[in-house]
């Protein structure tokens, strides 16, 4: 036995070690970047990548530990670890996409990469939060940095516009979320998730107007972050205007974090009043899927199309949430597959993109298969996965969510989702049409000069296939993650909270 009570210390600090690493890394990058020219930021990017990797390793280290830290502010469970890992992966992919992109577009590297890291910090906090304040702060940390990231190409009018739109609506939405937190606080007397869960589980709370309105307002707030219809209007514009790596980061990282918090609050915290919010989510999910897919059909800009596609996918995820707690693992699994697929798709978009937004139109993909068969092949895999074609990750995810939803009797919603999948196939396949069956399009710059991007695309494609073909371990860990949060909420409040 060590003379020091190492166990206790470890227990307090180890869980937030990844967070600490990220924070420190952000500052280091910032300082290191002071004298780096904007066009030569690759070094900073690699530093960022390394620190993310370190955080990834540390996060792996805390996998399997359970409990709470900092008086319940931080939850230590597989749920947070799962999301942290996926968020870190998303961040690493984003960095890999950014390496050349940032340099080419003369994005200020120090700020860019440190903001990215700060953003990751916020996301990880959201995933690991144990109370509503940390969720709120994490969300703000993430959002504020992403506002900036969206507008970091300062000379680019679209980038500016994306930033201001996102910022205004984000702040607007913050008001609603906070209002919801206030009301829930009023109804339950606490802002810690564990006690909230217990308070609600004891019953007699189901018709408290404060609680109900609070749930409603929080739904609105989270609905904005996950881009659910009708709170989605920002997404297409922001996705289009933001630098593409940031778009990817938003489409994946922000969505992951938002869902992490959303799930933890609703499917864990508010689980016992599920009847009070599942109906709303039913409608929102249906609207989100349908709206996203319908508008995506008529898009000509690939980033905008992917934005609507992301909205539609949020709809499928919300369908899972609407179907209740059993779908939790399915949502997590879906998010995993979704992350890789979307990251891959955006990587390909970046590969085609050049200054002046050449390569952002779907028509720019024409004839890609003839010129760059591998790139087109990878894109095909991502698109097929997004469309839910087996045996790719996207299919198994949909399958899982629909299956669980059906098991809980949500036949109508699943049929809506399925018909939406058909619509979505139309526009995903339209890109395939452009790539494989048409002529023209833009030339792609030498891929060999961009090894990081190629690696990102390759890894994403590999993961998309692997997660789909042999989903068992991922399903298992998703289930484990979800139930660790879901189960821990009850256990923790009994054991740890005064």
């Amino acid at each position: 036995m060590s003379p020091f009570n190492l166990a206790a210390i470890n227990f307090v600090w180890l869980p937030i070690l990844p967070l600490v690493v990220i924070t420190v890394a952000a500052m280091v990058v910032l300082l290191a970047g002071v004298r780096v020219d904007d066009g030569e930021s690759e070094g900073l990017g690699l530093l960022t990548l390394a620190s993310l990797a370190v955080a990834f390793v540390f996060t792996l280290g805390i996998l399997g530990q359970y409990g709470v830290a900092f008086a319940g502010a931080i939850s230590i469970d597989s749920f947070s670890a799962f999301f942290d890992l996926v968020i870190l992966i998303a961040a690493m992919f984003t960095v890999m996409m950014s390496l050349d992109y940032a340099a080419e577009n003369r994005i200020p590297g120090a700020e860019y990469y440190s903001l990215l890291l700060f953003s990751v910090l916020g996301m990880m906090l959201m995933a690991a939060a144990g109370d509503l304040i940390v969720i709120f702060l994490g969300l703000e940390t993430m959002s504020i940095t992403v506002y900036v990231l969206a507008g970091i190409m300062r000379r680019n009018a679209k980038s500016n516009e994306a930033a201001i739109k996102y910022f205004l609506l984000g702040a607007f939405s913050t008001g609603f979320l906070l209002y919801g937190i206030a009301l829930v606080y009023g109804a339950t007397g606490t802002i810690k998730l564990g006690p909230i869960h217990d308070a609600l589980a004891s019953g007699a709370m189901g018709s408290n107007p404060l609680l109900l309105l609070g749930i409603g307002m929080m739904l609105i707030g989270f609905g904005f972050k996950v881009a659910a219809v009708p709170f989605h209007m920002w997404a297409p514009d922001v996705y289009e205007g933001a630098p593409t790596p940031v778009t990817a980061f938003m489409a994946v990282g922000v969505k992951l974090a938002a869902f992490a918090a959303f799930i933890r609050v609703f499917m864990v915290g508010f689980v016992s009043v599920g009847a009070q919010w599942q109906t709303v989510l039913w409608v929102v999910a249906a609207l989100t899927m349908t709206g996203g897919n319908l508008i995506a059909v008529v898009q000509t800009n690939i980033k905008r199309m992917l934005a609507y596609s992301a909205i539609a996918h949020a709809g499928y995820l919300l369908l899972g949430m609407a179907a209740g707690v059993r779908s939790g693992p399915a949502i997590l699994y879906y998010l995993l597959g979704y992350a890789f697929t979307n990251l891959g798709a955006f990587s390909v978009v970046i590969a085609l993109e050049r200054r002046g937004e050449v390569g952002n139109q779907i028509s720019d993909f024409r004839g890609l298969a003839a010129r760059q068969p591998l790139l087109a092949g990878a894109m095909a895999i991502f698109l097929l996965s997004l469309a839910g074609v087996p045996p790719l990750a996207g299919f198994v995810g949909k399958f899982y969510i629909f299956s669980e939803a059906l098991h809980q009797g949500y036949v109508g919603l699943v049929i809506i989702a399925v018909l939406n999948s058909v619509i979505s196939a139309y526009y995903y396949f339209y890109v395939l049409v452009a790539m494989y069956m048409q002529e023209g399009g833009v030339e792609v710059e030498r891929l060999s000069a961009r090894p990081a991007l190629v690696a990102a695309i390759g890894l994403a494609a590999l993961a998309t296939i692997l997660i789909g073909v042999y989903p068992q371990p991922y399903i298992a860990s998703a289930a484990n993650a979800f139930y660790s949060a879901s189960g821990a909420a009850g256990v923790r409040s009994a054991a740890l909270e005064p």
């Binding site: 087996p390 299956s403 098991h407 036949v411 399925v418 058909v422 196939a425 395939l432 069956m437 068992q472």
Partner: protein, 527 residues
């Protein structure tokens, strides 16, 4: 020692596909593609040799855990229903590749071979899957290569056709997915076990309403694939615009997936509903037969004409299936094979013509016999097979189907024979316009007859037509045990239905049986 035989059969083409991706020289691509299609062909004949004709159950089965979380296993097997469809697939893929290497495919041969072989994996997988999830995966997997085949190497409105093909199919198959999930859920409710294994799912007790809806979902998916009237309109576009090999596989094998689906899934899973639905499906099948033939008759485009003739022929198959007696179903399965051979052959022939003249308009031809006697003779035989001339394969199937239909609903067979008449009418008329008469277009004067390679492609087709026409017994005797086993379920359901309708008469007719009426119990359980 059969371990892995079917797995090898399914995945050999996939390995070949990946291998081809690494080739760059065109000749090497074609050669390796051909060799990699020969391997499964050989293997499928080995499977045929290993097949025990007296067993109704799945043979050479393999089952491994795949996704235990969902109760999904990698469960494959072969039985009489799928046996010859597997052979048909391997044969047609080989012939298509042999044919396509002869100049039909002018661009991107590597991708073409890749997609053809992936398609083969999808087709074989769908035929051999016993697990519904596995089946669904292969079912969708075969969609994608075909989409590319049509879209990249097609002609005319190829993109429209490809997208239409995918969307039509997806509407059906996704609703089927919902039905599968629901069914599995019910299995979970009743057996407390999540499983996609078909034999288990056969036993799931369902309420009448449930099974009707589920059947409808399955039936829609398969009906689109078949395609039955009125969800057939993707077919003419897909066929017409696809490259020759695509049309061959599409008509030869892929459409059979729909009818196969009825036999393997829709009917045995929901036998009661199937029996109830006999009049509806027979009516649709007959509409398809007559409608397809009449519309085929007035098509100006050769491939479009053949496409509509497929609607007509597949109508026969559906008629046989929904006769729900061994004659009808044997005939239907046989007709599936026939249609694969004869329509596949027709598409190959039209492809050869297209390669020479770059048009498929019937009015562009005329008097070809004089210039291309060999071609004309082969065309004649294939056409006769298609219109069901006795002695060739088509007749055996049509006869059994109509006999089965007659035994079920007499009027149905009366209408079906109209299809036989019309079939002769439009096929012969087409032949007449293409081959007979004087040569009206100067370009046709210089058209050249078949090359050795093309003859090599067609000889096996002709041989199959003769063999299957004269010696159907070895095939049907292998098909039949599985059909009988499937029909046993239907018969029980039918007896139950009759029992409900006319309790007194049935009690008098039948000896005491132990098939208790489970509907009330189920209703109680549902409550």
């Amino acid at each position: 020692m059969n371990g892995g035989l079917l797995t090898a059969l399914i995945f050999l083409p996939l390995i070949g596909a990946l291998f081809i991706l690494m080739q760059s020289e065109e000749r090497a691509i074609w050669n390796s593609a051909f060799i990699f299609s020969l391997l499964p062909l050989a293997l499928s004949f080995y499977v045929l040799a290993q097949f025990n004709p007296h067993v109704a159950e799945y043979q050479l089965a393999e089952q491994y855990d795949w996704i235990p979380a969902f109760g999904i296993t990698y469960h494959i097997g072969i039985d009489g229903i799928s046996l010859f469809l597997v052979l048909l697939t391997t044969i047609l893929i080989t012939l298509s590749l042999l044919y396509s290497g002869g100049g039909d495919i002018e661009k991107r041969p590597r991708e073409f071979c890749f997609f053809m072989l992936v398609l083969e994996t999808g087709l074989l997988g769908a035929l051999l899957s016993v697990d519904l999830f596995l089946f669904y995966i292969f079912w969708e997997v075969m969609l994608i290569p075909m989409y590319f085949l049509i879209g990249i190497w097609g002609h005319g409105r190829k993109i429209y056709a490809a997208v239409k093909f995918v969307l039509f199919t997806m509407v059906g198959s996704l609703l089927m997915l919902v039905a599968i999930l629901y069914l599995v859920h019910q299995a979970h409710v009743h057996f407390n076990r999540t499983s996609f294994d078909l034999p288990l799912l056969y036993q799931v007790p369902l309420t009448v309403t449930e099974s009707r809806w589920l059947f409808a979902a399955f039936a829609l998916a398969f009906a689109i694939k078949v395609p039955m009237w009125p969800v057939h309109t993707w077919l003419p576009d897909a066929h017409t615009n696809a490259p020759t090999a695509g049309s061959v596989i599409l008509a030869g094998v892929m459409l059979k997936m729909g009818t196969y689906g009825f036999l393997r899934f829709a009917i045995p899973l929901f036998p009661t509903v199937a029996v109830e639905a006999i009049p509806l499906f027979m009516a649709l099948a007959i509409i398809g037969i007559i409608y397809g033939a009449l519309v085929a008759m007035v098509q100006p485009d050769l491939k479009r004409l053949i496409a509509y003739s497929s609607v007509s022929h597949l109508g026969f198959v559906m008629l046989g299936i929904f006769a729900l007696n061994p004659e009808g179903i044997d005939g239907a399965i046989y007709q599936m094979l026939n249609h694969g051979v004869s329509t596949g052959g027709l598409f190959l022939l039209v492809g050869m013509l297209y390669m020479r003249r770059h048009t498929r308009e019937i009015s562009e031809f005329g008097g070809l016999w004089k210039r291309v006697p060999v071609y004309a003779a082969i065309f004649m035989v294939v056409m006769l097979s298609s219109i069901g001339l006795p002695g060739l394969n088509g007749f055996v199937g049509e006869f059994l189907i109509m006999l089965g239909a007659f035994l079920r609903i007499r009027l149905a067979a009366v209408f079906a024979v109209l299809g036989v008449i019309l079939g002769a009418l439009y096929m012969l008329w087409t032949y007449e316009r293409v081959m007979f008469g004087p040569i009206t277009r100067a370009v046709n004067e210089t058209i050249r007859d078949l090359t050795g390679r093309e003859i090599a492609v067609m000889v096996p087709v002709i041989a199959l037509m003769l063999l299957m026409g004269l010696f159907p017994r070895p095939l049907i005797s292998r098909i039949e045990p599985s059909v009988t086993a499937m029909l046993a379920r239907v018969n029980v359901a039918q007896a139950r239905l009759e029992h409900e309708r006319q309790p007194n008469r049935l009690a008098a007719l039948l000896p005491a049986r132990h098939t208790p009426n489970r509907e009330p119990e189920m209703a109680a359980a549902a409550r």
